[in-house]
């Protein structure tokens, strides 16, 4: 299987009064369509790693290759375009725009690229709402929704542009066990149905157990890389 994300000798040092190195010579590769978990203690560097993979942050040294494209030489605008087309993000906090309804929020990534919605994309949004079980709330203001519903709306938003990669940083961090399980099932379903590559950062081992591969980070280094 071809790799969709490749990290070569990635270091990350935060400069300041005292320089802090948070990632040490990371070499990783993720297969297209795989479902992966990155686990580690708080402060281990897993979120930094995720942000670098998502092109939200730049490595101090090393190379990040996404879908065969070297990202190191790309400017901010090209990176923004790459993110919009290739990567979907789900964070611990949903970051939905409170001024809009659920469906308007879901359509935003599409509208960033295209100036207006099409019938096809509305159908796609409806399909995602159906799949995520939140059709009933699609026209509700996001502020009126529960935490689980908001997170599922955020997942629909991450998937609207058919990204090849979905990066999730503690997506279940704010959810109860039942909703967490539902989200895991949804991730798995999307992974199998659309062939989307999943990279989930979590400290919840139950969530990690549901993926095909678990990478453990300790103090900025890969401690374990287990393929089930």
């Amino acid at each position: 299987m071809s790799s969709i994300i490749e990290l070569k000798n990635v270091d990350k040092i935060y400069t300041g009064a005292v320089d802090t190195q948070v990632l040490f010579d990371i070499n990783l590769s993720f297969d297209s369509g795989s479902c992966n978990a990155i686990v580690g203690e708080s402060g281990s560097g897993k979120s930094t790693l995720l942000n670098i993979m998502g092109t939200l942050d730049k490595p101090t040294s090393g190379e990040v290759i996404i879908d065969g494209i070297k990202t190191g030489d790309m400017n901010k605008n090209r990176l923004a375009g790459l993110r919009n087309e290739t990567i979907g993000f789900v964070f611990q906090f949903h970051y939905l725009l409170p001024e809009f309804t659920a469906i308007e929020n879901v359509l935003i990534p599409y509208l960033i690229r295209n100036n207006r919605t099409s019938k096809k994309i509305i159908e796609k949004a409806n399909e995602l709402f159906e799949m995520l079980g939140i059709t009933k709330w699609k026209n509700s203001p996001v502020t009126k929704m529960s935490g689980g519903q908001q997170q599922r709306t955020a997942i629909a938003r991450a998937l609207i542009n058919n990204p090849k990669i979905l990066i999730a940083d503690e997506p279940t961090g704010n959810l109860d066990t039942e909703t967490t399980n539902k989200v895991c099932v949804i991730f798995r379903e999307i992974n199998q149905r659309f062939g989307t590559t999943f990279i989930v950062v979590t400290h919840d081992l139950q969530v990690a157990e549901k993926t095909d591969r678990i990478i453990e980070i300790i103090d900025g280094k890969i401690e374990k890389d287990v393929l089930k």
Binding site: L56, K76, N84, Q92, I112
Partner: protein, 366 residues
Amino acid sequence: MLIIIGIAIAISIQIFVGLLIDSLQKTLVDRTIGNSPQITISSATDIGTMRDWEILVSEIREIDQIKTVAVSATSSAYIEDGTRNLPIIVRGFNFNNADSIYNIRNSLYEGRPYQSVREVLIGKDLREDLEVNIGDRLVVRTPEGKEVIFIISGFYDLGVASVNESWVLANLKTAQRIFNFGNRITAIEVTVNDVFAADTTAREIEKVLNNDDIEINNWKQQNEELLSGLEGQRMSSLVIQIVIIASVVIAISSVLAITVLQKSKEIGILKAMGIKDLAASVIFIYEGFLVGLIGATLGVILGLGLLYGFNAFTTSPDGVAIVDLYIEYDFILTSWLIGLAASTFAGILPARKSIKLSPVEVIREG
């Protein structure tokens, strides 16, 4: 919403203050010199009169900026009233020419213009002093001691006591005859289209006539104090307007900059989803433009409302507005554009802030 109200108030004050000061100046100038010649051409010789004035008049009429030209034959005289001798000035005009400068017809509150060579008009104050009526005789004695008897055909009120009590208005021919001027006159009186350019026009007349025997005066020479007062007023109005606009720019900029802080999460997440820096920053410039458009338009309406309201409530005891309003459309348009431009410009700072905002910082802070 608050920001729109802020711009509207600032622009309305700008329009109100600007137009009011402008109207005040024009009213002041109009009431000071409006009903009088702005340029007077008189003789510089000892005789005090001018011959061949018809040629001079036709040459003056050719000059741009000239509105009306009238000739007058004026001399002092006095009226014997019992034991008193009242000094007067007999001013001989062609009535229609004089009317175009002094607006005499509208100032006639009783009677009619003089028609025959024997008829004259006298002012309100002189009438009250002499206790005379229409058709009464008026005995005038010239400096040479000649006695002339006139018939009063009407009474005028030009609003200036010194004029109302001394000017006796008569036919040009009448004045020329009683003072033995022949066909000569004492002055050519001119009004111009742009009163503030009267000095330039006066110089132009001087150049065209090129005559050492005449003397040219304009109102600006004679009213230097008024002019410096008006200039002071204009400068203070300008300073007030600049301060208002500067405050608007700072206020809008701060409000929009706070919006960037408040919306940093949303901007950050939009950037994570792939919105480009320029598109994110344009939102703030667009917001500034939109806010400016609504605010400045409301400001124009509010400012004009204030101005008309002020004019309706500030009247003299007889109900006439104290200030005549002169609505300068160019000034309104400029103020509107300044409001719009200032508001759009104020969006640049937050737009720059939003460009610098990194999505990872927002996400890391949660």
